[in-house]
Symmetry: C2
Subunit: 205 residues, 2 copies
DNA sequence: CAAATATAATGAACATTGTTCAATAAAAAT
DNA sequence: ATTTTTATTGAACAATGTTCATTATATTTG
């Protein structure tokens, strides 16, 4: 079985090489500029080869989105040490926002663009494990807050979702450049000040 | 000046006709399917004519986005009668969410897609009057709440932005289909329950 | 009213995209 | 050495946004 194994390994390596080239293009030039031809030429393979290893462009973008979630997860994992759940919750939001700011194209792919979900649909997979895992981290933290007596009168899931929505919304408005242009004193710091206002709300509940 | 006036009117009419065709395609088939060729064929004009009246596709999409804001504004205007600012604030959120649900492609164009902002950039216009107007309605209502003693310890702009972000975020997560797939009991009602949780937070502050 | 000018509309042509697939090359099995 | 299997190729296709010389129409002028 030596040959079959080697071939399998080689296939994995080439697929990884394609993804690496795709990521380089994606990070530096965005989604639209990440074309199959550019990916192929980047690694000196033909267009057709890319389609041997990936079903279509959505497949590649889904793989990229998964990589993004791995990075976000590892950045959130650092906060597992924080014992106080309220403190951890606030820090989670900051880490999340920072990720969105520093990797805006990737964030957009992960949470706004259709491509990754369209790919899941195309292979009849209704689960979105990447999102699920991240949301579970939030839910667990909110649960601990509730157990400690915070957020009186709130249910776990709706509250968790509202928190996710608030942070996601502020990040998205920044990324889609909808803040500058709106009549606001200091657009660049708006997300941070908005998050502080939101934190203040959470603390008072 | 009779002829010049008539010509001006005819030009406006044809431009409106193009926009109307574009809107029909946009509403029924989404952004990508709203192609210049389809728009032209819809009104029995050639492709080139569309480009006489609109600079490019972003120009058309920007015009569509403006129409969306007109509709949203008129739906929000109904609530100007509500005297109690807190009550009006809650209702504004509901109207906003309902608009996003019932016109998701349009909402996405208005608040998420690059096209309208790219168009503004291309004509060196840094103002975004549509968004500004809508945000001002929110800000005014929040201001009245503050004046009545609500939201103690909060600043107007950050709080208003956080509220906008929360509602926008929940709407966007719904539209980008990021809710189903996440491990949640009833995905379809999640936005409504999330907004109730958020409202509860606001009331307690 | 006829000719000249100005305005409007046209659609073929271009570049770029994702995608396919018969043909070729390389590797493995016989 | 031959056959079979596997891997790679890149030309070709359809669809897109966009341009622009050409044609048609309308207006102005002499």
């Amino acid at each position: 079985m030596g040959i079959a194994d080697r071939k399998l390994k080689e296939k994995e390596e080439l697929k990884a090489l394609i993804l690496q080239a795709a990521k380089k293009l994606f990070v530096t030039q965005g989604v639209e500029q990440t074309t199959i031809r550019k990916i192929a030429s980047e690694i000196d393979y033909s267009v057709g080869t890319v389609y041997v290893y990936y079903k279509d462009k959505n497949d590649i973008l889904h793989d990229l989105h998964t990589q993004g979630f791995k990075q976000l997860s590892s950045e959130m994992r650092v906060l597992f040490n924080v014992a106080n759940p309220m403190e951890r919750l606030m820090a989670l939001g900051r880490v999340y926002l920072q990720f969105a700011f520093e990797n805006s194209d990737m964030y957009n792919l992960m949470f706004n663009l259709k491509a990754p979900i369209e790919f899941l649909d195309s292979i009849n997979k209704e689960e979105w494990n990447e999102g699920k895992g991240t949301f579970d981290v939030l839910k667990t933290t909110v649960k601990e807050c509730l157990d400690k007596g915070h957020f009186k009168g709130h249910e776990l899931e709706p509250l968790s979702f509202a928190i996710w929505g608030a942070v996601h919304g502020m990040a998205s408005l920044h990324i889609s450049q909808r803040i500058k242009g709106v009549n606001v004193s200091n657009p660049d710091s708006m997300v941070n000040r908005g998050y502080e206002a939101f934190s203040l709300m959470l603390e008072k509940v």
